[in-house]
Symmetry: D2
């Protein structure tokens, strides 16, 4: 028997984590649970919360969705997570025996007291640091890069929590956002280039740090501002303080957050994600318009760009593919041949809107191309007469080292083939990607500054802004 | 603490069951599991499958989604469900202690051998029949109306399975579709008025019976035809036979299947559900157009009608509300006031597309009106300057007795208030429903034949085509 | 890998059920849970309780020990079992898919109201009755003989619960004790020959019915009397009434209850079980004394007889075999040969007390002889120089049909071999069983009345007092 | 409601751990599971096994009995524990949130590779060491004293595993036996005074280390010898080597292992535990004989001493109290007063053997005295006319710091009252303990050498042979 997973057909890059922290409210853990639910799209495989009442720390981490760990059926769990301050984490994937040990937030009882930490992103010299620490007698309990930070803090010669944390982070390279908590402080931090997002909110006097603004909306909190690149904010009972412990670096916010990772109702770096996607769809229509009867998105991620494409091209928008939202189910394939079962667990053709039509299919990106082929065949079998695939991002040719789960370069379709060959393999009449300059235009820039690009676009260009020590030295990389 | 359920805010009528049967393939149970997954929208709370290899019957029923009961993690379960023939069921809700006993399919080891049965719909004289049977010594093990059928079959004086089944069904009133199975037969049946849907498909020689065509698509089966009202089909190793054991009655297919229950990619009675919904949206725009800047659906059910409305009105369509698809999560409300948390677990305003705009909000129906009020407030707080609510069905004023979970009449908003009062309660600048005649026009009828309507529209008109014996005699009704 | 079960090496006949009922106290279910714990030796695989408050019936049945189903971790379960009256059951073994359906007490909602029933013993014409009932349309939900009684009650033409019950039981043959409960009655009943035990107790005005007096002791209840053979007692709020609905029959109490089944601290038929066992040990020493250094019991069941043997023979008693009381554990046999692992999971030789000694080993019975051989080898390897096995029952040569789980006759060692051959197979220097007359003498009878024996001793003599309809007609027997 | 635990009435001191290790056999983990089952009496609340195949380490630890974690239902677990070498642990009690983290064996991936460790006993300066380590940046993941050893090994400047281990253990005080394992070594070690037991066995060339010889018997292994006090043995593929890394100290084997902790079929320090207990019973009869009708043990632990007492006094031995071996069950007390329910969950009076008799009751020890009082009342209510309690150990007046779970001194009955007051409180006609010299005589010593006692008897005398650094410095002690 073959096992068929509706997720395994999800041929996307994946954000690896969502993070959340709140200070200054009763029920801090319940707020955090709700915030993590809003960030669920950033990681579906595990979730954890640590709360403190200023004296004790309580922790729960588990495999599964936020609601499976902190929902109504887990009232007893939430009741134990007493405190005015809490931080939480949701992660993309964990595998193997040490799965639970690899769930964040991490917690340690250090010399100065309890300390909890979670992060979104990736530390590019963590393995090198880890080897060093083990050589000097540190004992690691997980395979996560995050644990390096805890040990560097434990071994720091500095006295205060903040000085120890700065001491630790100055030894570390990478693209990350970080939330940590001691018994009386909540701390947020972004790497010097600001690769991953982190926003600040406020709800009736309680401060919130979280990956995206949708985490503020769900609890009715107001958006205050983005945390700046290289900034460290300290929140305590007296209020909020800001520090910049690193030398200044240029901004390199991840452009893929706009393309796919962030939720469309979020604002990142002050911009509406939905509006950015629609705009990319419009520029895509300008660059590679084609005569057709209908614009059809690959749901759900292709919808905003398809609406933008439809508006710019004046062609009708229709849901030619229907998505089954009972997500994440894995089934057993019957022995009889069931064609493209995986893709059908999640998508079905809406035959009436496709039959006899010239179709423009809009998707956000192509990674391995496996799902695209299956969807294209499904649409053709439903009777489409022409099929033009339009992609709302440039060709994905390089792996990410800053917190996004990407296949090895060899598996990326665009790293192996030119566009015409890709079109042939996928089976479409035409294929077009938005150009790199078109993308920057859609994002409101005049053009890409090639000597100092406004975003991190390494997955499209191979220009990595942050050093990759572990990769360059041939170390095997465990991602958090 | 208050418990907040993202489902409890789902102010919709609900289909109570999806049914599936297949004959003539190895892995019949695995096919059925896939078919039920495609029918998951017809019932999320429990699922069951019975399979037979012509000698033994194996059964598994459980609380939860299809994937939770028959997915990859339950390989051992599926491996036990050996057979060339299987039937399955997914149901909307079960409560209380007897929950598991109330999960279908029912199975009994009768004098002539094993017999399994599941149905979608409601039997309107089941309680009366049940009292009779108990008085003569029958012992019931569930509170489902379905069990009456099993006992009538067990007590029938006829010899063959089919004669016993017909004998049983002739004693029963109601709106239903039925699939049952003995060790060498698969049987499908619709009530004389054809209230609930049932379609026939074929995959490499294996026959399939299921509620909607999306259950055929998922396994790559071909659609053959709808089962007719009052028809009984018998499928065995020799092929398929058709019988009409009831006196002929006029068609009264449930019009709400088009409006909300069926999946948009399904065809029922030969018509595309998606196309019907778009058409209703168009007629809604013709009947109650209003000047505005954007057409926004309440996702997901309002989307096709909103697209139709947008096309007919020439106003732009946009996703002004974003849905969180990590469905069905229930959380604990923090003590701090979190406004309309329930609705926000599932929906969030897409502020950028709403701010400063005159918005036409399109939804499929209003039941109690509770969610509508909350969504309207959320949209207003996001900055909409005008809000016009358009509903793609007539006012829901009456309960359903034929298989749809409806609140008591007193809880139906439209049963209590006129449209202007409803608009005031919900807080919109204008409110309009499609008219009953507009609905029939959108469905391709010239008009409603008032003496013999083309559909069952009792929830809008109170005209019930099938007698309601139990209700009229004051019996408390347990729904299956 | 081989699976090794410490239980599977327990080469004993097994009582199949313990039953309990109480009327007239709050917390009836909690009392019943304690009573069933005291009766745990009569059945370890499943347990169930039904309670009623005079209006509603609540039920819980589950696989496992009483404490696993009704202990402190199941407070919520017990809290639901509200009522002043409850009945409970613990059973020896359940297998297969229908396991949970086969757990007692049975409950049905009959025309006259709720009715719960459990029994200890076996109905010898249940299959014949069942076929009859199915032919007339009754639907069975278990494979237990007990369910026949429920259906006969449901179909009885009589009006009152008691008349219906009597009507049912008059159609049934077998050796059984029965406890049943309607919303205002508790009923106890023994078969006309009184094969299985049932005692009556009282605790502060609440009446108790249970299999053995140890079930009274645990809750501090007073023993009132044994229920008589063929007696039916009805307990309600007015007190207790006694009826004798069957023609009088001679007493045939199961003598094996004295030998092995009952707990040694219980009194059955007015006699101390422990004293009876010691007495059997004494007569065994009189009949088959032998010169030796030490009397060693096979623990725990051989202990009282060994103490009696030691006293009568004036030889020292010592625990030459130690039992590991972490019972019921099943382990995986390592590939390396581990000799007689199964027996060692439960027993180990106490080498110091065996080395260089002539040992008299006392056990209660021999069924298949498999464990005896292994224990004998273990004792020999510990250094015993002579080994004389003495058995505190006559040779077990026939199967039981009245509620005791016995192997097929062909598997009974004593049905195949004479005593010398048995001694050779087991590997002892001498082997002796108590004689059938010795047994009757130990029980205080002058001798066995061969034309009308004072006990049921069919497993030793093959003289079955009660007709075996199903067996004689070749029906396959499901035991309850 | 009150919760009643049959264990909480077990008024005994408790051994805190059993340990096991095997090297040089396939199925090392399955052997270890069996060995731990034989050591189950040394700890019932949690169990763990680590195995290595020379390259990878696999680990499973869980709450519950050995059979619940490594029995037949956990085949998949055992199948993962591949290797020719394994160590295992069973522990007495774990509480609180960190329960699972506190289950042994501990495992860490150190600079030199994987390292697993488990111990029986207590480290008396662990808290002091821990504070030191934390101050230098070590991060602890449990509250067990054992973890200190791992960190000392990780930080040692030595190169080889053994040198690092010796380096660590030289910094540590306490009474302990230790088993540890690297990828190619199995190591056993006893503290310099030899407080806790550890034996060496051999099965077909595979070496075994375990707490008691009963762990050898279960897998058919031969006993080789006791590990000496202060000895470290290294087992690898070449054989076994012995080292003595500490200065020599006098023997102080725990005398309570003979009295209660060890299994009666085990040999410790070359002596039969059962024979020692019988001998103590004999000396007890010599010292404090009394005229009576019957000698009755409190089962099971009082049985060997009672048999010895019976032999020496020439009074008959009888089981006047019957034990329910369905152990460890916790129930809810009904509201109605059920007298001494807790004790009755485990024990019941065997009335027939007590009524009208003068009874000598023999128990192994008195800790708080709570159970004794209840048993005495139960025996009196069963009709005993006189009751003389004889205890097979001296009065327990002091706490243990070397690995035995003891109450605070204030809770020890003998620390508060003289013998006559104790007799009054417990309600017996006479009470006697064996004298400290009588105990030494029974153990085969001429007398106790008061300046250098042959055993650790601190719980009777308050003379502690090993320094108690943490206790003396007022640190709160977590026991492992």
């Amino acid at each position: 028997m073959t096992i068929i997973n509706s997720l395994s057909n999800d041929d996307h890059l994946h954000e690896e984590c969502g993070i959340y922290g709140i200070f200054g409210t009763s029920d801090a853990a319940a707020h955090t649970a709700l915030g993590l639910h809003a960030l669920q799209h950033r990681g579906q495989e595990a979730a954890g919360i640590v709360a403190t009442d200023g004296q004790y720390f309580n922790i729960h981490r588990g495999i599964g969705h936020v609601g499976e760990n902190f929902g109504e059926k887990n009232q007893a769990v939430l009741a134990q997570l007493v405190g005015h301050s809490a931080i939480g984490h949701t992660r993309y994937s964990t595998t193997g025996e040490t799965a639970v040990h690899n769930v964040q937030p991490l917690f340690a009882d250090l010399e100065f007291g309890g300390f909890a930490l979670c992060h979104n992103g990736n530390l590019t010299n963590a393995l090198q640091m880890r080897e060093n620490l083990v050589r000097h007698g540190s004992i690691f309990h997980s395979t996560m890069d995050t644990e390096v930070i805890i040990h560097l803090i434990a071994r720091s010669r500095n006295t205060s929590v903040i000085d120890r944390l700065i001491d630790a982070m100055r030894q570390i390279d990478g693209g990350y956002s970080l939330i940590c908590m001691s018994k009386d402080l909540l701390v947020g931090m972004r790497d010097p280039f600001g690769v991953r997002p982190l926003v600040l909110g406020n709800a009736d006097g309680a401060y919130i740090l979280c990956s995206e603004t949708c985490g503020l909306d769900i609890i009715g909190a107001d958006f205050v501002r983005d945390i700046h690149r290289g900034e460290l904010v300290i929140i305590d009972s007296k209020g909020i303080q800001s520090f910049f412990p690193f030398p200044p670096r240029p901004s390199r916010f991840c452009v893929f957050e706009y393309i796919y990772f962030a939720r469309p109702d979020s604002f990142v770096e002050g911009n509406s994600v939905y509006a950015a996607r629609k705009n990319i769809g419009k520029y895509l229509a300008y660059e590679s318009g084609v005569d057709a009867d209908v614009v059809v998105p690959v749901p759900d991620s292709g919808v905003p760009a398809a609406i933008g494409y439809s508006e710019a091209s004046n062609l009708p928008f229709d849901l030619g593919i229907i998505r089954n939202h009972y997500v994440g189910r894995t089934f057993i394939q019957p022995n009889d041949k069931v064609r493209h079962l995986g893709v059908k667990l999640k998508h079905n053709a809406n035959r009436k809107q496709l039959e006899g039509k010239r179709v423009i299919l809009v998707d956000d990106s192509i990674v391995r191309g496996t799902t695209s082929s299956k969807i294209v065949e499904m649409v053709r079998r439903a009777g489409a007469t022409e099929l033009h695939l339009r992609i709302a991002s440039p060709p994905t040719t390089h792996s990410c080292f800053y917190g996004i789960n990407t296949p090895q370069r060899e598996e990326l379709l665009a790293a192996q083939f030119d566009i015409q060959d890709m079109a042939n393999k996928i089976g479409v009449d035409s294929l077009a990607f938005i150009s790199i300059d078109g993308l920057y235009s859609a994002m409101g820039k005049t053009s890409r500054k090639n000597d100092n690009p406004q975003f991190c676009d390494a997955c499209f260009t191979g220009e990595y802004p942050i050093s990759r020590v572990d990769y360059d030295s041939g170390r095997i990389i465990h991602k958090s």
